[in-house]
Amino acid sequence: MTDSRKEDGSLGNLLDIEDVSKIYGPVKALQNVSLAVRPGEWAAIMGPSGSGKTTLMNIIGCLDSPSSGRVVLDGLSLDSLSSAELTAIRRESIGLIFQQFHLVSYLTALENVMVAQYYHSLVDEKEAREALENVGLGDRARHLPRQLSGGEQQRVCIARALINHPKLLLADEPTGNLDEANETVVMDILHSLHKQGSAIIVVTHAPEVASHAERTIVLEHGRVASDRQNASSSS
């Protein structure tokens, strides 16, 4: 893996996206997108369906590579990295929260958290249990996903995303499948994480979810239509 930490002059930002485009055949999913995210910053990416939100999130999350442009994460250029190297960065630096939760159906809540430890380094059941307790699921550790509500599954997903102390938390529509009560619980957890210094990028189409962030980036037709600081994030 190439460490460009010293060369790229981006030490001030956790994430630098420079002139990134992504083209799928005739479709231009992203066109010359540039933005930066500071350490500890909470940014929301909004936009209508097909605006390129998910594509941008996949590129930031090292799940996809741009057709052109440059992405620097924590001082490390992601250019020309192999699939295995991107996997390693994903494992070390990024926590992923999904709208569909994506829990392993045959593992308990505790094991779903431990599985992220297993792929990262070493499993630590005590730490995994603490992570579940931190999201209010200490008593649901031995339950299978089908025995948990949507909100509980999302909280397991958050505990799993946080267990390896990622530098960047990426959340794709984290409240998209939740009722209002559970949405509040999840947003409270994100607020708590933000206060502890985690950098968070939330992809959402819901203005009320975006309003929690410090900053809202709006994508339209694969381009950054606006990038503004929110007046004050709601808590």
Binding site: R90, V104, H120
Partner: protein, 380 residues
């Protein structure tokens, strides 16, 4: 409780199999059936030659011994020498025969001196009407002699002739049974070797010795060569009409069993491959998730291969027990005999099952590591 990565890896595999029982059962059934047929057929492969060899022994001797010297006669000592070389576990019987031209009522016949106890083992195809001779002076008539003389069991028969020194002899015997084989045996008069020795005043000699040996282990030709090598004065020959057909039938049957085994293994592999492919397709999202969480391809591959190995071990063990039962039922229903279970075949069957499931998992595993996490996580 401390959990190591290795034990967690096994926990992943274990729960993946146990908590997805329906899919496990399909794959497990495939492997178990394959292992059942494999062990069953291999056990029969071991056992059929033994069983059939016993059946073939009912067709008579498959090896004969004569004196190498033309016109020479075998002695009791020669019989002991031959008996000491042939493997006792394969020796069904060893019967001496001595042929003498005799007469009855001026008509010529051939008298055969033998050991009735041994003949009953080497020539079980003899059909006897009456009783076997149990003491001195008792004889059997071949069916053709019985037709010619009209003598029956219970009547007496006078036999006369000349020995090799041209000395005349004659003696009365009691007929105790009529022998029928449909072959040359029907034309002889049978008496014990001792009676013939006393009658001709030439004891302790025989013209040929017939041996009935089961197959398995050293080929019959090698045994014959062994006897000839150890005792050049004795010539050992195979009864090729018996040995050839026995070898041919056994070889064809063995190949048939091997072929069926190969087909079954291929079908098992197809079944497991199909099931594993279905598993991979069903679990694309899970694989994508694991890759998104940072799982290396090697770990994904190991998880699937470990599942395959577990299936192979479990299916192999279940199949082994079912296979032994299957072989026992076949052996009993076809040959009417029970078979001895070959315990050492169980680990071999399990090992083959594991190899088959690993081979069958390779392609699905390759598909699994090719999963693009971004695509499957957005539901493509």
């Amino acid at each position: 409780m401390a959990t190591s990565n290795r034990s967690f890896a096994w926990r992943l595999v274990f729960w993946s199999l146990l908590r997805r029982r329906s899919r496990l059962l399909v794959a497990l059934t495939g492997v178990t059936i394959g292992a059942t047929v494999l062990l069953g057929l291999i056990t029969l492969c071991y056992d059929i030659p033994k069983q059939l060899s016993q059946e073939f022994r009912s067709y008579g001797a498959n090896m004969v011994f004569v004196k190498a010297e033309v016109g020479g006669r075998l002695t009791d000592e020669d019989l002991d020498k031959v008996g000491s070389i042939l493997p006792p576990d394969r020796l069904v019987g060893l019967a001496p025969f001595r042929y003498e031209p005799v007469r009855n009522n001026m008509l010529p016949y051939t008298a055969v001196g033998t050991s009735f106890q041994d003949v009953r083992r080497t020539s079980p195809f003899w059909q006897l009407n009456g009783a076997w001779p149990s003491g001195p002076g008792e004889i059997l008539l071949g069916a053709d002699v019985h037709e010619a003389t009209k003598l029956v069991a219970g009547q007496r028969m006078t036999i006369d002739g000349r020995n090799s020194r041209q000395e005349r002899y004659d003696q009365d015997f009691t007929i105790v049974g009529i022998v029928s084989t449909g072959g040359v045996e029907d034309g002889f008069i049978y008496m014990s070797l001792q009676d013939m020795g006393k009658m001709t005043r030439e004891e302790g000699v025989a013209d040929i010795v017939e041996a009935s040996l089961t197959s398995g282990g050293e080929p019959l030709q090698s045994l014959a060569d062994l006897v000839k090598g150890a005792h050049p004065a004795i010539d050992a020959r195979l009864v090729t009409r018996v040995t050839r057909s026995e070898e041919t039938v056994l070889a064809k049957l063995t190949w048939l069993v091997y072929l069926v085994t190969l087909v079954v293994l291929t079908l098992t592999m197809i079944c497991v491959t199909t099931t594993m492919m279905t598993v991979v397709m069903e679990r694309r999202r899970e694989i994508g998730l694991k890759k998104a969480l940072g799982a290396e391809n090697k770990k994904i591959a190991l998880e699937f291969l470990s599942e395959g190995i577990m299936l192979g071990v479990l299916g192999g063990l279940l199949g082994s027990f079912a296979g032994l039962l299957f072989a026992r039922v076949v052996s009993y229903s076809v040959f009417g005999r029970s078979l001895n279970p070959e315990a050492h075949l169980v680990p071999i069957t399990v090992a083959v099952s594991v190899v088959v499931t690993i081979l069958a998992s390779l392609w699905p595993v390759r598909r699994a590591v090719d999963v693009e996490p971004a695509a499957v996580l957005r539901g493509e």
